[in-house]
Amino acid sequence: MSGTDQRIALQITDLNVFYGPIHALKGVSLAVAEGQITTLLGANGAGKTTLLRTISGLNSPSSGSIRLFGEDLTGDPPPARGASIPPSLLSLVPHRVARVLGWVGRPGLAPDEIVARGISQSPEGRQVFPNLTVRENLQLGAYVRSDTAGIAADLSRVLGLWPRLRERLDQLAGTLSGGEQQMLAIARAMMARPKVLLLDEPSLGLAPVIVAGIFETISEINREGTTVLLVEQNAHLALRVATMAYVLETGEIQKCAPAAELRDDPAIRDAYLGGGH
């Protein structure tokens, strides 16, 4: 299934991210091959969400790089000289001046630019816009696009994948059930017509019957040509749909192997697949 000449869609190299004093990602390197589903497993607090947010440009790494088909999305690491200045004050200084003074480095791409480059995300905990209708949520998903015809085509495409959403187009998203909100969140991310789709725990809090459906849809999206990076607690299902799998533990990549291989790995079984099952 996977050839060696596979193009790398997303290449992450030696990424370090801090929350204040907390070192959340410690030199993470990872590659997502084009056209595949790559899954990222890991216990609670391992840093999976942090990684996805960093890819989307919501957290800035202190070092390392993220490349989308070779293009660098990250900026230079912040120079030490700027570290002593409170960020709130630093932001007052015009960026060019601050760079000349050596207080800040070259900035990374802003979240909206990253979306425009082709990475979109369905965030952890769904995060639909509750006071907007389903249709409006989907329209916002296509915010970076201006091809009206293409947007309309994609709208009918995602509504084809999730007929439930079509029934509820004009309902406020906040009143949807959890499973429906999860569908909406993924559909919304699809509306950006991403090259790479990031999914953060799509099965969180969903009924088993829905979970199965969601995973089917993910596979289908992938078959249609979208590269997927899937973060999941439900390792059984994740390893079943994915080609490659990474295991993240307390901010470090512990393992990287084809998914099939990990499914049979006894250590993984113990840690993630729930001992006896």
Binding site: R53, S56, G57, L58, P87, S88, L89, S91, L92, A110, P111, D112, I114, V115, A116, S120, Q121, P123, Q127, F129, P130, N131, L132, E136, Q139, L140, G141, Y143, V144, G174, R188, A189, A192
Partner: protein, 292 residues
């Protein structure tokens, strides 16, 4: 009645600015009243500088108004950039303090630069007519009312029907999630401030033309009342701001006219408290019950 409506219309116009900013950032922009004040002085100096003061014409006045709106829009964006954006990640209360700081700063600068009070020239002919017996219409009241209503519908359309409006509402719910959708959050916030501030300038010009006097502390009193109106109507809601403005204006006028004017403020605030106790999210505010 009409007095109350035109007073209310002014409150409403200023309240729209509070409500828009609140609608995107959940922030009470304490400096908004001062932007309104600056709008009045900007109009005055523009009218002088362009010579509209000497020979006022309708296009001239419109030009002055437009100029003041642009000036205030720039001012509003600058305030946001300098005093609010750096604190985006802190709590709203902390941004409130820089807002208060900006408000104090502008007010004190205004006092130093403009003095206590300045008279504002008559720019539009004032006529009065009586379409129905007992109903006196003044041109300024009519202009004020219609401008308010037009702007309200315009804004409502902007927020509810356009992609930009959707982006505003998305930013209001979660800036991070909005950014994940590719919405340029900073730009959306900037534009919100610009629009809100421009509205304040429009209100300021209308007030100045009607009352012929402008003062550096007009933002403090007018701003406070407008803020109250915005909350009364349900802060974050565009029609709510207008409803709140009209209600407050009517309430004040009726109290002064039929009850003791010395107690006007007390009764106006009393009504506010009373209404909020029964509608804790304001007249038209959506009471967002926290889903447990």
């Amino acid at each position: 009645m009409l007095n109350g409506l035109s007073l209310g219309a002014i409150y409403a116009l200023i309240a729209l600015g509070y409500t828009m900013v609140y609608g995107t950032l959940q922030l009470i922009n304490f400096a908004h009243g001062e932007v309104y004040m600056i709008g009045a002085f900007a109009s005055l100096y523009l009218a002088r500088w362009t010579g509209v003061e000497e020979n006022p014409t309708l296009p001239g006045v419109a030009l002055v108004g437009l100029g003041a709106m642009i000036f205030c829009a720039a001012l509003g964006m600058t305030i946001e950039r300098v005093a609010y954006r750096p604190l985006r990640k802190s709590s709203r209360l902390n941004i409130l303090i820089t807002a208060i700081g900006v408000s104090l700063l502008l007010q004190n600068l205004g006092l130093m630069m403009f003095g206590a009070i300045q008279s504002f020239p008559t720019l539009l002919p004032e006529t009065q007519w009586e379409p129905l017996p007992g109903l006196h219409l003044r041109s300024t009241d009519v202009v004020t009312l219609s401008v308010t209503l037009v702007l309200m519908f315009g804004l409502h359309h902007l927020v509810e029907r356009t992609q930009f409006g959707r982006a505003m509402r998305a930013v209001s719910h979660s800036r991070d999630t909005a950014a994940m959708m590719g919405i340029p959050v900073d730009r959306v916030v900037s534009i919100t401030f610009a629009v809100g501030s421009a509205l304040a300038a429009a209100a300021a010009l209308l007030v100045a033309m009607d009352k012929h006097s402008i003062r550096p502390d007009m933002g403090a009193t007018g701003g406070l009342k407008a803020f109250v109106a915005a909350v009364l109507g349900g802060i974050g809601s565009i029609p709510g701001a207008v409803a709140g403005g009209f209600l407050l204006g009517l309430c004040e006028t009726l109290v002064s006219g039929y009850l003791a004017s010395t107690w006007r403020d007390a009764i106006a605030f009393g009504v506010l408290i009373f209404i909020l106790l029964f509608r804790p999210a304001g007249l038209l505010g959506r009471s967002t019950v926290e889903k447990v």
